[in-house]
């Protein structure tokens, strides 16, 4: 019998840890999450029966379940922590980076700005390099390091979802290790979308 009580006490401790962990994990999250929005659209939320079920009965039954089968809860929590720390490669969203093989031509900032001058006969764009994106370009250029040169690049890229894209633009290349770094896109189009 003592073992049984010990088992339940351990269950209560697990419940407290799970609850505390949950409270910490939701702290600071945006209130307008999808679940909050969906709940706000639920017309039943004003009913006392809904509130009783959602705020008391369901948490109570969940708590009982954790106390009774706490080893399962511990296993699931540890498994989730492991997945969070070591996510499987397939679940990580690939992020585009410029590879050395994508580099085309080393250029000066002045050369780039000359070739990217925008003009429009109807006056729909400022007559400056990169037109409406001139501010974004200036922001990019300001990040150029002393050991960086600027190259044009073009790359074919496939997202996790199999979408093939053509990307081109300009990229900083470190003169010491020749590694491409931050880039500025001038073309980002889906390939064979038509």
């Amino acid at each position: 019998m003592n073992y049984f009580y010990g088992y339940l006490v351990a269950g209560v401790l697990v419940l407290m840890i799970v609850y505390g962990s949950h409270r910490i994990s939701i702290r600071g999250k945006e209130k307008n999450s999808i679940s909050d929005l969906l709940e706000s659209m639920n017309p039943d939320r004003e009913k006392i029966s809904y509130r009783l079920l959602n705020n008391f009965v369901a948490p109570f039954l969940g708590s009982i379940l954790i106390v009774v089968v706490w080893p399962v809860a511990v296993y699931m929590k540890l498994r989730q922590m492991y997945i969070d720390k070591y996510p499987p490669a397939s679940s990580v969203e690939r992020v585009f980076t410029v590879e050395p093989a994508n580099l085309i031509e080393k250029l000066t900032v002045v050369e780039i700005q000359n070739r990217e001058l925008v003009s429009d006969p109807l006056g729909g764009a400022p007559v400056v390099p990169f037109g409406h994106l001139e501010k974004a370009w200036q922001k990019f250029v300001q990040k150029k390091g002393e050991n960086d040169s600027v190259w044009s690049f073009s790359a074919l890229w496939e997202t996790n979802w199999g979408r093939k894209e053509e990307k081109s633009g300009y990229v900083f290349v470190n003169n010491e290790n020749q590694n491409p770094g931050a880039f500025f896109l001038t073309l980002d189009r889906e390939v064979d979308s038509a």
Binding site: D120, P121, L122, A125, G131, A136, F140, S193
Partner: protein, 167 residues
């Protein structure tokens, strides 16, 4: 993701539904993006742009939407110095204009299929080519033209009332 409300394009004197969002490319390339209110499942981007092709060039000539602070978004909100017409020089890619009757309704993005797609190939804001793609023949009673069948509109704040149908 719910089927999305299309952009509007005035092309060769005809107002058409355009299932492409060139302004998204502007924002992703570093253009300043205001905080559009995302209160409708059929309009996650938060705005509808009015486009026009003049002399083979793609222009943004209007914008309708709401900002998170409740104020109205217009073309001047995104391009304060070009409140009437903005040349979409940043956009390269295809523009899809569905035409004819609906072959298949897909409640996601711009995935619904129509009898024809007018495809415009755009290079740096200039129309480089145009071709018509035939996708099949729809039944006689199939709906004509692009449309969204259902959406949910969330209240922006407590002062506003909710509207809409099923999600």
């Amino acid at each position: 993701m719910t089927a999305q409300i299309a952009e509007r394009l005035l092309y060769q004197g005809e107002m058409l539904s355009m299932c492409t969002n060139p302004l998204n490319d502007y924002f992703s390339m570093g253009g300043d993006s205001p905080r559009f209110a995302n209160n409708c499942t059929a309009l996650w981007r938060g705005y509808v742009g009015d486009w026009e092709i003049i002399d083979s060039r793609l222009y943004l000539v209007g914008l309708s939407g709401s900002l998170e602070d409740g104020s109205e978004a217009t073309l001047a909100t995104v391009f304060p110095e070009f409140p009437r017409r903005v040349f979409a020089h940043w956009y390269s890619g295809t523009v899809r204009i569905p035409q004819g009757r609906r072959l298949e309704y897909v409640h996601m993005g711009y995935s619904s299929k129509y009898e024809r797609d007018l495809i415009l190939e755009i290079k740096k804001g200039v129309v480089a080519a145009a071709h018509l793609r035939h996708n099949g023949t729809a039944e006689e009673d199939a709906p004509q033209g692009y449309g969204v069948q259902a959406m949910t509109v969330f209240p922006i704040n407590e002062k506003n009332s909710s509207d809409g149908g099923q999600p």
